[in-house]
């Protein structure tokens, strides 16, 4: 299963807080895609993912100040 959340216009740390909430609802092996536009999130979200032991499947910049990251729950 894959879930997508859009946290556009949210400033740090809200994108990360939303991601943490969303991943709680998922089962191990499910994927969570986070679309965000907070610059500081480019540091905090991938860091959180690896520190929690999730796998980062894709991580890309989509356009001007717009990013997407997909995390597979451990």
């Amino acid at each position: 299963m894959k879930k997508t959340i859009e946290v556009l216009g949210m400033v740090c740390p809200f994108p990360l807080i939303e991601a943490k909430e969303a991943i709680k609802q998922l089962n191990s092996g499910d994927e969570l895609e986070v679309q965000f536009d907070c610059t500081q999130g480019t540091e905090s979200i991938p860091r959180w993912a690896v520190e929690e032991g999730h796998e980062v499947v894709t991580y890309e910049q989509l356009g001007e100040a717009s990013w997407t990251i997909t995390v597979k729950k451990k």
């Binding site: 740390p13 690896v50 910049q61």
Partner: protein, 350 residues
């Protein structure tokens, strides 16, 4: 010579934008994530500046003498400032550089911050500010309190910071996924690569040191400062008094421009509009920041980075209480809503 402020500010804005240097986030994460990295980074910037500025003073480049310590107003002001920066989503400097990234929420916070700082410094609350800052408890200089040379404080502090950094660097590293590089060489380093926060802090310490002789040459004997210059802009705009335009005003405008340049070149600039809730929170945060910084006599830069490096009581006391302010606000903004959500969902499931 006031124009050098814009160069110093642009360097600072650029380094902070590219280095993602956010003190608000750093103070918050000490509590939320038990992560002290940005706090340690701040200590590096303080240590570098302390050695640099006291060396310059020793060499006779300029003179600086600490004033008296308004203990009560520093404690109250710094604590309120700490609450404000969590609500605004960035400290005074952070708000200036995020405004350069195109965040309208930061524009709102900035406008309210300037407004409140002007009200507190020269508006209807000026006499209130003066009254609260009046009771003082002796000299602000830590070295003078103990009757010792300032280097007896600076050198042990630098040794302590070096020890902390050594211990941090020895820790095993987690590999953080990076975006696929699209640029090469210098362009990659300047406009794409993730900067190590300790390297960013080293650069900020050097810029903060450079600020002193540049500012002193224009007749303003101080380092980086954000609150008074931000208030000056508004005071100038409504009074037309050119005397208000000093080195500090060019400094803060430079932060905006440097960040705008960094963000544009890295594909990180876009006008981003907050929702109603974030807008209200940003406005309230800006007001509290302006109120707190005026009472405390500085923000996270003026007190937290500069007055700490000058080894003053007000700098270090302000730093402690602004961190406590961010933790208090973090509890109400981040921790408690999460607990309430969790409680609500258990109630539904049961």
């Amino acid at each position: 010579m006031t124009i050098t402020g814009i160069i110093c500010g642009a360097l600072l804005g650029f380094v902070m934008q590219r280095g993602r240097f956010c003190l608000t986030g750093g103070f918050r994460d000490m509590y939320l994530a038990k992560d002290n990295r940005i706090f340690y980074a701040l200590l590096i910037a303080i240590a570098v500046q302390s050695v640099g500025v006291f060396a310059l003073i020793g060499a006779g480049a300029f003179e600086y003498s600490a004033s008296q310590l308004p203990l009560f107003s520093v404690i109250i002001g710094a604590f309120i400032f700490g609450i404000g920066i969590i609500l605004a989503g960035g400290c005074a400097t952070g708000t200036w550089y995020r405004a350069g990234e195109g965040l309208i929420g930061s524009w709102i916070a900035l406008a309210m911050y300037m407004l409140m700082a002007a009200i507190m410094k020269s508006g209807p609350l000026a006499s209130f500010t003066t009254a609260v800052r009046k009771p003082v408890v002796g000299t602000d200089s830590i070295a003078d309190t103990f009757g010792i040379n300032v280097w007896f404080i600076v050198i042990p502090f630098v040794a302590l910071v070096a020890f902390i950094i050594y211990r941090e660097l020895k820790k095993p590293k987690v590999k953080i996924p990076q975006l696929k590089p699209k640029k090469t060489g210098l362009a990659h380093i300047l406009f794409e690569k993730r900067w190590n926060p300790f390297v960013t802090a080293l650069l900020i310490g050097l810029i903060a040191t450079l600020a002193w002789p540049l500012s002193a040459a224009s007749g303003r004997i101080f380092g980086l400062g954000i609150t008074t210059p931000s208030a000056n802009i508004l005071q100038y705009l409504v009074s037309g008094n050119v005397d208000l335009i000093n080195w500090g005003v060019f400094l803060v405008l430079g932060i905006f421009l440097g960040s705008l340049f960094g963000a544009k070149m890295s594909g990180e600039f876009r006008v981003r509009v907050p929702d109603a809730k974030t807008s209200v929170r940003s406005a309230l945060g800006g007001l509290l920041m302006g109120f707190g910084a005026s009472l405390a006599g500085g923000c996270s830069i003026g007190n937290g980075l500069v007055m700490t490096a000058m080894m003053t009581w007000s700098g270090w006391i302000a730093l402690v209480f602004m961190i406590l302010g961010t933790w208090t606000a973090s509890y109400f903004v981040f921790v408690r809503p999460g607990k309430q959500r969790a409680a609500a969902s258990t109630a539904v499931n049961a």
